[in-house]
Subunit: 147 residues, 2 copies
Amino acid sequence: MPHGQSLVEQLRDNGLKLTPQRHLICQLIENNHDHPTVDDLYEQATAVMPSMSLKTVYTTLYELAGLGAIRLVNVGTGGFRVECNLSPHSHLVCRSCGKVMDVPVDPAEHADLSVLKEYDFEVEQREIIFRGLCGECAGRAGEGPGA
Amino acid sequence: MPHGQSLVEQLRDNGLKLTPQRHLICQLIENNHDHPTVDDLYEQATAVMPSMSLKTVYTTLYELAGLGAIRLVNVGTGGFRVECNLSPHSHLVCRSCGKVMDVPVDPAEHADLSVLKEYDFEVEQREIIFRGLCGECAGRAGEGPGA
DNA sequence: GTGGTAGTCAACAGTCGTTGTTATTTAACA
DNA sequence: TGTTAAATAACAACGACTGTTGACTACCAC
Ligand SMILES: [Mn+2]
Ligand SMILES: [Mn+2]
Ligand SMILES: [Zn+2]
Ligand SMILES: [Zn+2]
């Protein structure tokens, strides 16, 4: 519950109409504490409301992101992911299966560096990504072909 | 000069034929101490060798990356960038113009955290991105329309 | 209620970055 | 110089995303 408000409340409070499409997309996001792709959400949405258009999913996600209700992150796995977890954290990204997991590493604590003052650059946001292999994929790689 | 060897030397030492296309692409990369996109390189290449195919640029970049001679980084600006600087560093990414700049912040020093041990994940690589506005873009935003 | 108006939507074509296929050409080496 | 496996240009196709358009839907003034 980001900002203590549900996604639908945030939509309404910002003068956006609460259409059935938006309502459904908000529900799907709130029930998903992962990092779904746009296509994940589209598939879940069409299962309930077959007329839902992919464009509407994109548009609604950009609206929610514009409100600061969600974030759209790109970890280099092709297509962005929907980030429902607004608390500061970092990501583990599996280079084999593309899974994205949260780690409680606050970038503001680990990457707030004075050396940046020397650059003509206004830092607004810090991001830390740990790339490697998730347990499942590392396990699979370790198993030989048997005999 | 990564590994003390030129890119063409690394190609040859790994049994790859030294074609004029590969030679040109290597030169372009070594003369470019920025973070060119694939299209940047393609345009520069066709200026010299008009028959060069975009596919060949991609293929050659993946070969060089496979050898560890360059890195291909994705900072979420659409399409990856060619990273010629193999020393450990982090990036400033302008959200307005997409420029990517190096900062001498070694991720291994600032993001090598014991909390990661608790996760079933083999970290291979750490990455820190600072997002914001470059000096030029920040300046432009500050200027009002004048009268 | 009727008409106006702004917001929203599905459908669908188009863009951009990237990859697959294949027939032709070529670098490397005998 | 001939042989051969590797590399290339050409081009179609793909996935992720965006632009356009015309229909539909509150919402409001009268
Ligand atoms: Mn997350
Ligand atoms: Mn760099
Ligand atoms: Zn994995
Ligand atoms: Zn900029």
